[in-house]
């Protein structure tokens, strides 16, 4: 990771303590995760104890300390989605990809996340794949969706099965 990029982000936001979270957000947006070096750099440049930076980085859900996969699957577990069957959808994705929420598949293709309400409850259960919403999800639709993404990546079902 380019530390000069991190420095630029810090410069943009300033070194006042209140800039810490905006800086971490910007780093997350730019690099998709917060590396050790990045956090150490932030701590040093802003003159904040590393524990404070680490604490903030682990407290908020938006931050990730490990790189994420190519495709991000977000399953809404909001109340509305829950009563409409989101847990079943989540289970199916877990079963299919062999990962739990906040984990990434071995081939670094998918990262699974759960979110609390995306504000589209009317169409629940919702899943978002790479920022595209898929409403009224059912267990059977999950299969098709994930297959279509894999196909796009050129992975056939056979190969996938062989792997596991």
């Amino acid at each position: 990771m380019e530390l000069s990029g991190i420095q630029k982000i810090i410069e943009k936001n300033g070194t006042h303590r209140s800039a810490l979270i905006p800086i971490l957000l910007d780093i997350q947006d730019e690099y998709h995760f917060l590396s050790r070096d990045a956090l150490a750099c932030v701590a040093q440049t802003m003159d904040i104890a590393l524990v404070d930076v680490y604490r903030a980085a682990t407290f908020y859900k938006y931050f990730s300390l490990v790189p994420k996969g190519e495709h991000l699957i977000q399953v809404c577990l909001g109340t509305a989605c829950h009563v409409r069957g989101a847990p079943g959808v989540l289970n199916e994705i877990q079963r299919k990809l062999h990962i739990k929420p906040r984990e990434t598949t071995e081939d670094k293709l998918f990262t699974l996340e759960t979110v609390n309400c995306l504000g589209a409850c009317a169409m629940g259960p919702i899943i978002v794949m790479d920022e595209e919403y898929h409403g009224q999800m059912t267990v059977s639709k999950v299969d098709k969706l994930i297959e279509s993404f894999k196909k796009h990546e050129g992975i056939t079902k056979d190969e996938q099965d062989k792997k596991h």
Partner: protein, 234 residues
């Protein structure tokens, strides 16, 4: 001066005092766990709760953090308070039964049952060590990380910290490992309850200045340690 009423008694307290300070100053006591005179009150363990205000609009607050207020009515041992404290200790007992501090509190408050599944979580997250490290040792080597059920106390990335001077103050003040319990089951001659825990710090430091002459966790071989924890779990 602030005038308030503690257990029916009129008390003059200094502006800026906490309820706990006023309560202890007049000689009443409430149990505490995460409070330490030399450190900033934090309000994590909730043991020090007292009832304030008039019923039915009274409520419980943590006396170690609540400021004295003019005319406030405070009760330190109402039924509601005592029941709440008992439940708190029962929760602690179920999660950190190896702590002598917790066992002592249980006896003091007459907690005689555990209705939850017993686990060995050890750390109570009272944050005494965090404050000790930051406020007295000026090191800021450890802090809380994560939140909710995942919350823990650690160094950044769980790695050896450059700020840490291995002073051992964190272990000195810890209520979960500082004073070892003699065992929850008195009929057993050798308890070894304290050997069930492996202080987190040992994973990272084996050269810490430990004051715990009776702990011995660091003297054990890694393999036996693991075996023991496994046995205890099953």
């Amino acid at each position: 001066m602030v005038k308030l009423i503690i257990n029916g008694m009129e008390v003059q307290a200094e502006e800026g005092w906490t309820l706990l300070e006023a309560i202890r100053w007049v000689g009443f006591d409430v149990p505490t766990l995460c409070y330490h005179e030399g450190l900033t009150p934090y309000g994590a363990c909730r043991l020090c709760v007292v009832e304030i205000g008039k019923e039915p609009r009274s409520k419980l607050v943590s006396s170690c953090t609540y400021p004295v207020e003019e005319g406030l009515i405070v009760r330190t041992h109402s039924k509601r308070v005592v029941n709440a404290r008992k439940m708190i200790v029962e929760l602690m007992l179920a999660s950190s039964p190896q702590s002598k501090t917790v066992q002592d509190l249980a006896s003091q408050l007459g907690v005689q049952q555990i209705r939850f599944k017993v686990e060995h979580e050890d750390c109570l997250l009272c944050g005494l060590c965090v404050r000790m490290c930051a406020e007295q040792m000026m090191a800021k080597a450890i802090d809380f990380a994560f939140r909710g059920g995942d919350r823990k106390i650690t160094t950044p990335f769980d790695m050896k910290s450059e700020e840490c001077r291995r002073c051992g103050a964190c272990m000195y003040i810890c209520p979960a490992c500082q004073l070892r319990c003699d065992g929850p089951q008195a009929e057993q001659d050798i308890c070894n309850a304290c050997l069930q825990i492996t202080p987190e710090c040992l994973k990272t430091y084996d050269d810490v200045m430990c004051y715990l002459t009776t702990c011995g966790a660091c003297l054990k071989q890694p393999e036996t340690k693991q075996k023991e924890t496994k046995n205890n779990k099953s």
